[in-house]
Symmetry: C2
Subunit: 372 residues, 2 copies
């Protein structure tokens, strides 16, 4: 891979660490590791001053689509905290953008898209364009993998060669469809859910299209260097059980099955946020390797709903991280000890909040890594 | 009660229907009734043209605090659909307003309150004022009970004397605290949840104050005629399990226990929205009589988590009601048949949406009431 990024020469494969040396990957493959590996959703984000400095230089899509910038942003939290996972800096809406849907990130508002509401809107989407449009993302992944794994890539300053696993990701079809149909964020995503009831054939067509495009994009990320992939279904909890089966579990199962067929050794993490009572069914029916749990999930109950070899990820409250103080290491200890003896990736139940003091993240990582 | 509302004379108690004749109350007391009784959260609301007409005449707080208006609004859906339950037209924020917190409902924004963030802000709250400030609400309940139960109160046009039960309600302490601390609605209620972590003693003081005031207000509602009461914890799903225990279950348990001590025969419905895996624990530890389930809850799984005699309420998707069509009676049938043989109150998983066509509500009630 290094030849494509202008390196002086390809690394000797014997010098690259074996995948099984990375603690995060060992857990995702079903091994209980103590203390648990740790990374945080939105660890590369606005709470970091070095992120805010880069943010001023380029708009959101430019940051995602410029390998220099996206690589740097992805690595910022790895330099500071030596996380066990580095998650690609990108966005779940890069997929509809790559298919030709207009997308803008407006300060104080969030994403704004030209809504997809009729068959003619769907007809204009171009899934065949995704590979070319996301080529810069794949270049970012190649650079990241080299920065993380190749000994002596000192200029990147990561400082723990070969310990950090590279994570790719995508939004799950239902959640991406929510933004595509609504045209932006929403509390209820009423237009989207109305379409699912009133025009099920049209909505199924959108979900099918996203299911195939998402599987293809995750495979491309793996081929560019991602060692694990995560599927974010942030709005899964809006759905009643029958629609959860149809719009969350079934697309998740198809994506996991396609990724596994092409890349059988790469673990898949599923995050059906606010899936509540249905997380057990999601885990067993999709065939994912790890289940990410939101803040509200009781870990002991959730652990009882999934097979013992399935890794669990989560689920510290981002507000606990923001508040800091003595409650933070105490909450971290409760979480890691509840899952001791099981494969567990320490993470938050939702993303790091922008107002979080960076030193709280350091304190959290230290608490999670205490050997006793 | 009629003497207090200026009626010509007190009704003969023998003419009043026995509580046990009302299908909703039989279910809340643990009896399986077929077809299930039905009412809808926010059944008195903006989707009704007759509600919008009244809405233009008075602001929100005036509507809540004027017995003529609040009585009329509460009865509007009973006249149209003959619901089995009539829920008092009021708001969960009437309690902090009655304690002296400033409150305004701004069109397109929602409630706006002067935030309570410091001990001095709490000191200014006056729980001892609640009884007097909410006297008009109690008058509304007395009028409603008479309108629903006294034969020949034809002017009110309810048209099914003695079949509809009167439901009182309150916001649960955590959810009310969210609005009080934040100063309005929010996606994350970050200030509130930060306070709970960073200033637990202050937050506990607020929750304690609300717990006592809520129990007292629910008892007053019962004394004014409410035959069942419901506790809305709309934001319970934001909390991690340890805080769910402390800020949702424990206050719920204290409120249920106080209401039961003073009014042992009045059933209490608890609604820990998005409580997910924790709804079983909520139901068994609070001592409520009925558990209201949100849209995301799988009814068969939830039924397995609670004692067989505990009534379940819910949980049709409000978007399914909005969309209408063939999917609506089909979804209603799935819900009622899943819970057949158990005590079940048919309801939505969240409130009726303003854009809902009123005829869809009629179609739903008809579907729920089909005898076969």
């Amino acid at each position: 891979m290094t030849s494509e990024t202008g390196s002086a020469g390809a690394p000797n494969p014997d010098e690259l660490p074996k995948m099984s040396d990375k603690r995060l990957l060992r857990v995702l493959h079903g091994e209980a590791v103590w203390p648990p590996p740790v990374w945080l959703m939105r660890q590369a984000g606005r709470y970091l001053p070095e992120f805010r400095a880069l943010r001023a230089q380029a708009d959101f899509i430019t940051r995602c689509m410029t390998p220099d910038i996206a690589t740097e942003i992805t690595l910022q939290p790895i330099r500071r905290y030596g996380m066990d996972g580095a998650i690609l800096f990108s966005d779940i809406l890069i997929l509809p953008w790559a298919m030709g849907q207009s997308l803008e990130f407006v300060d104080g508002v969030g994403p704004v898209l030209e809504p997809v509401r009729r068959a003619a809107d769907l007809d204009r989407l171009r899934p065949e364009r995704v590979a070319e449009a996301t080529a810069p993302v794949m270049e970012t992944l190649r650079r990241l993998r080299r920065a993380l794994d190749v000994p002596g890539e000192a200029a990147l300053g990561v400082g723990q060669d070969g310990a950090t696993a590279l994570i790719g990701f995508a939004g799950a079809p239902f959640t991406v469809a929510c933004y595509m149909v609504e045209g932006g964020g929403s509390k209820e995503f009423a237009e989207t859910r109305r379409m699912a009831y009133a025009e099920p054939a049209l909505f199924d067509r959108l979900i099918d299209l996203l299911t195939e495009a998402t599987a293809a994009m995750l495979c491309a990320q793996i081929e560019a260097g991602a060692e694990a992939v995560m599927l974010f279904d942030s709005w899964a909890g809006l759905l009643p059980p029958a629609q959860f089966e149809r719009q969350v579990i079934e697309p998740g199962r198809r994506i996991a099955s396609e990724v596994r067929r092409r890349h059988p050794s790469v673990p898949i993490v599923g995050f059906p946020r606010l899936g509540g009572l249905l997380v057990g069914r999601y885990a067993s029916q999709t065939g994912i390797d790890a289940l990410a749990l939101d803040t509200s999930a009781d870990l002991a109950l959730a652990a009882g709903l999934v097979p013992p070899g399935l890794a669990l990820q989560g689920n510290l409250d981002p507000l606990c991280l923001l508040a800091g103080g003595d409650a933070l290491p105490a909450a971290a200890e409760t979480i890691r000890s509840t899952l001791r003896g099981r494969p567990h990736v320490f993470n938050l139940g939702h993303g790091v909040l922008p107002q979080t003091p960076p030193e709280h993240v350091g304190a959290l990582v230290e608490a999670v890594r205490r050997p006793w």
